[in-house]
Subunit: 242 residues, 2 copies
DNA sequence: GGTTTATTGTTGCACTATGCGACAATAATA
DNA sequence: TATTATTGTCGCATAGTGCAACAATAAACC
């Protein structure tokens, strides 16, 4: 749980929000051959997933979209709920208390944000180039990190990230994951690098090309010149935007 | 959400439980070629999924196991969380109020069970022959229904069942679903019937047999005599109990 | 301008997985 | 003893994929 939206939320005694329930999002991006993740950093030094709370009269999934819009400036994000984390062990008020104290606010022990929270995990796929990360009230910054070079995260957020990646991997073939992480047009090499990065293993080039072309998801558009001292690759676009 | 465990829970004002959060389980069984589902029936005529609440000092998944043990008498159940339902539209106190009234208890409008609940969905696979269904405080009975002949369900429970089946289908190959729904030993025809029932389509017999044997999951044990006027089939057992 | 270099698009071959049909084996029944 | 229904297995056609090879070619180099 990343109890953001402070100070308004911090001071509100939780009024207007569902009690004990939060949501956290693993926001994936892809840029220059690197898988990226959006994280909040705090003055106290810790890092966390962007998260939020659910309003009294708001769908759970809608709350996730609202929170993501606040963090990324993006509407119509590819978003999927993947798991709800409710272990008792994730109940530890200290990290958040430290953050609040470093912001000059010393909460009482029974502050609503310091109670036990169950959190619903979402993962989102966004176009890195179109995202405008924006911090929330408590955090110091909201920014991209290389997935392979992630800092330590608050509470069980690392576990949440792990499960998100796992889900992303198993969904890679069936859902239009590429079309949400890449820009409008891309080369076959771009697409393969994305797949290899997500799966964490290298793929055979000709097999990959054949299967992608055979799937009928791609439209070949142009040729891309200026890519280096070699044959110019075709540029593709996804046919099926869902 | 099936707010069971009454009357104790009903009258407790929700003390000792996480507020606004419930869990519901889609319990699958398989018997005589039929997929089964465990449902609660109420005096008021409605039916619902077995469900429960999470204690203050209890893991979410542990609460699901506890609730399932109470309903089925089974420990060590194959259990998987698949989705959390939090639409505002599922907030409708009337069905539950009706149930309580039919039990002779007229709750105030602000009764804790009549507030909005988010529910975490689980599906469970159990050995039909070993299950001893047991009702809870509010329900009239807890019993098996043919999956193909399910009554109308309370609130959005039908949607929950649908998503559970969907998850079950996609997991059918990768997880040891057969070993949890069948008895210790079975014939290849039994196993194929299970797969066909879950997938909702017929499979080619020889291909199915070849792929199952090729997977290395099965151990051939005996021959089963007395099955009819035909060649006796082999009896198999799953090698990998996880 | 000719040559080199790196990358791309494509094809052939081997291997595996699977749908489908066929056939012999066989346990109970008539 | 013959019949019947079901089972275990095999052969063939087809689709998908890993791997290697090869020609095409845009930029860089001399």
């Amino acid at each position: 749980m990343s109890e953001q939206n402070a100070p308004d939320v911090t001071l509100s005694a939780g009024k207007g929000f569902l009690p004990g329930l939060a949501l956290d999002a693993v926001v994936f991006g892809f840029h220059e051959g690197q898988l990226k993740i959006l994280l909040l950093t705090y003055e106290s030094g810790t890092c966390a997933l962007p998260g939020g709370f659910i309003r009294d009269r708001e769908d759970l999934n809608q709350a996730a979209r609202r929170m993501l819009f606040e963090r990324t400036g993006l509407d119509e994000i590819y978003l999927e709920q993947f798991y709800t984390f409710g272990d008792l062990a994730r109940f530890d008020p200290n990290p958040l208390r430290g953050i609040m104290v470093s912001k000059g606010f010393t909460p009482p022990d029974d502050h609503w944000l310091l109670q036990r929270f169950v959190t619903v995990g979402y993962y989102a796929l966004v176009d890195f180039t179109k995202t405008v990360p924006k911090t929330d009230g408590l955090a110091d910054s909201c920014s991209w990190f290389d997935f392979t070079d992630m800092p330590a995260l608050m509470l069980d957020h690392r576990v949440i990230v792990g499960k998100a990646l796992e889900t992303l991997r198993t969904n890679l073939d069936h859902k239009l994951i590429g079309s949400n992480l890449l820009e409008e047009t891309f080369t076959m090499a771009d697409l393969q690098r994305l797949y290899e990065t997500i799966l964490g293993k290298s793929l055979n080039r000709s097999s990959f090309q054949r299967s992608m072309l055979g799937s009928g998801m791609l439209e070949r558009i142009d040729k891309k010149y200026g890519g280096g001292a070699h044959k110019a690759p075709y540029v593709y676009r996804f046919l099926t935007k869902e």
